[in-house]
C-alpha cells in the first residue's frame, strides 16, 4: 500500500499541476480518454469504422502540417505519400506475404524515399511554384499505376490484402493508439530544437542560411518525416480497407488534406487532428442529405474560415485561454493574474 500510495499521489499531483491547470490540456486529456475507453461503452461496428478512418486521416493531416505548416514547404500533392505508403504496404503484403506490422512501416519508409524524390527537385522552389510542382507528383504516379496494371491492378487497385487484425475492435485500438502516439511524436518534433529550425525556415530561409544552418538538410528532413507519417497512414488505410487503389493518389485527396489542416489551424499539429475529428464524421453525418452533402460541407468550411482565419481550434483556444503578457505562459481566460508570475492578465 505504502509505495503504491506514494506513486498514486505523485501522479495525481503531476496531473493536477500539468493537466488540470489549462482547459486545452483537459480537452486533450479527455480526447485520449474517450478514444481509449469508447469501446467499453459501445462497439458499434459502424461507429468504430468511422473512428478508425478518422484516426488514419488525422495522422495524414498532421503530417501535412509538419511539412507545409511548420516548415512552410507548401505541399499540394500530399496524396503522393499516402498512395506510396498504401501501394507499398499492399504489394509487399500480397506478393511477399509480409504481415501488416511489417508492411505498414515499410510503406512508411517507401514514403520517406518519395519524400526525398520530390524534396530534392523542390529545394529550389518556393510558394506557388512549389505548390504546383508538388501537385504534379501524385498525378505522375497515378499515370505509372495505370501504365502497369499487371502489378498495380490499374483502376481496380491491389485488393485481397490481409486484415489489419482479427477483429474490428483490435483494428480500432491499433489505429487509435498509433494515431495518438504518432501525433504526439509529431507535436514533440515541432516543439524541439529541430522544430524551431523548421519554423525559422518557414519565416525566412535566407536568414536561416546565414545562421549557419544547413537548410537543405532540414528541408529534406521535413519532407522525409512528413512522408514517413503519411506513408504509415496510407499503409493503415490499405490494410483496413483491404485495398490500395488509385483513389489514394487523387488530386481531391491532396486538397482534402489541405482543407482539413487549414480548417483546424496550421502550425499547431493539434489543429489538423481536431479538424479531421470534426469534419470526417460531419461528412458522414451529412449523408442523410445526399444531394446537399458537399454543399453543406463547403458552407461549413467557408463560414469557419471567414470568421476564424487561423482555424477553428486556435480560435477556440484563444477564447478559453489567454497568454500572460509578461511570462507568456497560458492561463484560463477567467483568471485575473498569471498562474506562474502573478502578473495581472489584462
Amino acid at each position: 500500500m505504502g509505495i503504491l500510495g506514494v506513486y498514486l499521489r505523485k501522479i495525481y499531483t503531476l496531473f493536477r499541476g500539468e493537466v488540470l491547470v489549462l482547459p486545452s490540456r483537459i480537452v486533450v486529456f479527455l480526447f485520449f480518454l474517450v478514444l481509449l475507453f469508447l469501446p467499453v461503452v459501445t462497439q458499434d461496428l459502424y461507429l468504430l469504422r468511422i473512428l478508425i478512418l478518422t484516426s488514419i486521416f488525422a495522422i495524414l493531416a498532421a503530417s501535412w502540417d509538419l511539412l507545409s505548416g511548420y516548415t512552410g514547404q507548401m505541399n499540394f500533392g500530399h496524396a503522393l505519400f499516402f498512395g506510396v505508403g498504401a501501394y507499398t504496404a499492399a504489394l509487399l503484403n500480397l506478393h511477399a506475404h509480409i504481415p501488416p506490422y511489417g508492411s505498414i512501416p515499410l510503406g512508411g519508409l517507401a514514403a520517406v524515399l518519395a519524400g526525398l524524390v520530390i524534396g530534392i527537385p523542390c529545394l529550389r522552389l518556393r510558394g506557388t511554384y512549389l505548390a504546383l510542382t508538388t501537385l504534379a507528383f501524385p498525378i505522375i504516379l497515378m499515370g505509372i499505376v495505370f501504365a502497369i496494371p499487371g502489378i498495380t491492378g490499374g483502376e481496380l487497385g491491389v485488393s485481397g490484402l490481409s486484415r489489419l487484425s482479427s477483429s474490428r475492435l483490435y483494428d480500432y485500438y491499433i489505429t487509435v493508439v498509433l494515431m495518438l502516439g504518432l501525433c504526439t511524436i509529431m507535436w514533440k518534433i515541432t516543439d524541439s530544437k529541430t522544430g524551431i529550425i523548421f519554423h525559422a525556415i518557414r519565416e525566412d530561409e535566407l536568414a536561416v542560411r546565414t545562421s549557419g544552418i544547413n537548410v537543405t538538410r532540414y528541408k529534406l528532413l521535413a519532407f522525409s518525416l512528413s512522408g514517413f507519417f503519411a506513408g504509415i497512414s496510407g499503409g493503415l488505410y490499405a490494410h483496413f480497407m483491404r485495398i490500395a487503389g488509385p483513389s489514394t493518389l487523387e488530386v481531391s485527396m491532396s486538397f482534402t488534406v489541405v482543407i482539413w489542416a487549414v480548417f483546424g489551424g496550421i502550425v499547431t499539429i493539434y489543429g489538423p487532428v481536431g479538424a479531421v475529428f470534426i469534419l470526417f464524421p460531419l461528412l458522414e453525418f451529412f449523408r442523410f442529405w445526399p444531394e446537399f452533402r458537399m454543399l453543406l460541407f463547403a458552407v461549413v468550411i467557408l463560414l469557419i474560415l471567414l470568421y476564424m482565419p487561423n482555424g477553428i481550434l486556435p480560435w477556440v483556444r484563444d477564447k478559453i485561454e489567454k497568454e500572460c503578457p509578461r511570462c507568456k505562459v497560458r492561463n484560463v481566460a477567467t483568471r485575473k493574474t498569471c498562474r506562474v508570475c502573478v502578473a495581472p492578465l489584462d
Binding site: 525559422a200 519565416e203 536561416v208
Partner: protein
C-alpha cells in the same frame, strides 16, 4: 607573416548592366576593425553578400584563413567563422526573440564550441544579454522596434561565435545614446572574452555604416567604395582628408 586572414582579389559582380562590385581587392588581418563606407548604392551590401556566399561573384577570389570560399554554401561559410547581419533586418517574425537566436546557437560551429554549455537557451539568452534585449526574450520578434531589431541581428550573428563579424549598418535606426551603447558593445566584443556562457574570440570586424562620426571612433582602417570601386583605403585620418573621398561622398563639410 603567413597568409592573410581575409584576402579578396579582383572581385567583380554585375547585375544586368550595372557593375555593383568592380575589381575589388583588399586583405585584412585577424585583429582589425575595418570600416566600409560609401554613398548609397556603392556596392557595400553586395560585397558582403559575395563574402558570405549569398551571391556568387562573376570573377575574382575570396580566401578566408587561406581557404577559398567561393562556391561554398552560405551555411558552410558561416561555420568557417564568418557571421553577418542584414542591413534591412530579417528576423523570424513569428518566433520569440530567444528562438531567433537559438537558431544560430544550433549551427554546427556554435554547438561544437559550447561543449560545456548544454543548454542552447542559456547561450542564446547571453547573446541577447550582450545585445541588450534579454528582457524581451519571450516577445515575438514582430513586436520589436527598429533599433531592437538591429540588436537582434547582432545577437544572432555573435551567437555563431564568429572570427570575422560583418555588421551592415549596426547603428541604423538607433538613437544617439543607443548608438554609443552599441559602439561600446562592439568594442568589448572585439576585445574578446566571455559574456556569460557566450564566448567571444574577439572577432575581426567589417562594419558598414553611414554614421561616420561614431564609426571613426571604433575602426582602425577604412575602405571607401564608390560605384563598386575602392577609391580609398587607409586610416580614418587619411581617408577623411582624401580629395576623392571628400568629393564623392563626404562633401565639403567633412564628417
Amino acid at each position: 607573416m603567413g597568409q592573410a586572414f581575409l584576402e579578396i582579389d579582383g572581385l567583380f559582380k554585375d547585375f544586368g548592366g550595372l557593375r555593383a562590385v568592380d575589381n575589388v581587392s583588399f586583405s585584412m588581418n585577424r585583429d582589425q576593425i575595418l570600416g566600409l563606407i560609401g554613398p548609397n548604392g556603392a556596392g557595400k551590401t553586395t560585397l558582403v553578400r559575395l563574402i558570405t556566399g549569398i551571391l556568387r561573384p562573376d570573377s575574382g577570389s575570396i580566401r578566408f584563413k587561406g581557404k577559398n570560399v567561393i562556391g561554398l554554401k552560405t551555411w558552410d561559410i558561416i561555420n568557417l567563422g564568418i557571421a553577418c547581419t542584414f542591413q534591412n533586418m530579417r528576423p523570424f517574425r513569428r518566433l520569440p526573440i530567444i528562438a531567433n537566436v537559438m537558431v544560430s546557437c544550433l549551427c554546427p560551429r556554435a554547438m561544437k564550441r559550447g561543449e560545456w554549455v548544454k543548454r542552447v537557451e542559456a547561450k542564446a539568452l547571453d547573446a541577447l544579454e550582450f545585445a541588450g534585449i534579454s528582457d524581451m526574450s519571450l516577445e515575438k520578434a514582430s513586436t520589436l522596434s527598429q533599433g531592437d531589431l538591429k540588436r537582434l541581428e547582432v545577437a544572432r550573428a555573435i551567437a555563431t561565435e564568429p572570427e570575422l563579424l560583418i555588421l551592415d549598418e549596426p547603428f541604423g535606426g538607433l538613437s544617439p545614446a543607443e548608438t554609443d551603447l552599441m559602439a561600446k558593445s562592439i568594442k568589448r566584443l572585439h576585445k574578446g572574452g566571455r559574456f556569460g556562457r557566450l564566448h567571444s574570440e574577439g572577432p575581426a570586424m567589417i562594419i558598414i555604416e553611414h554614421k561616420l562620426q561614431q564609426l571613426m571612433k571604433i575602426v582602425d582602417r577604412i575602405i571607401v567604395l564608390n560605384y563598386g570601386i575602392i577609391i580609398a583605403d587607409g586610416t580614418p585620418e587619411e581617408v577623411v582628408n582624401d580629395k576623392e573621398v571628400v568629393e564623392s561622398y563626404l562633401g565639403e563639410g567633412g564628417i
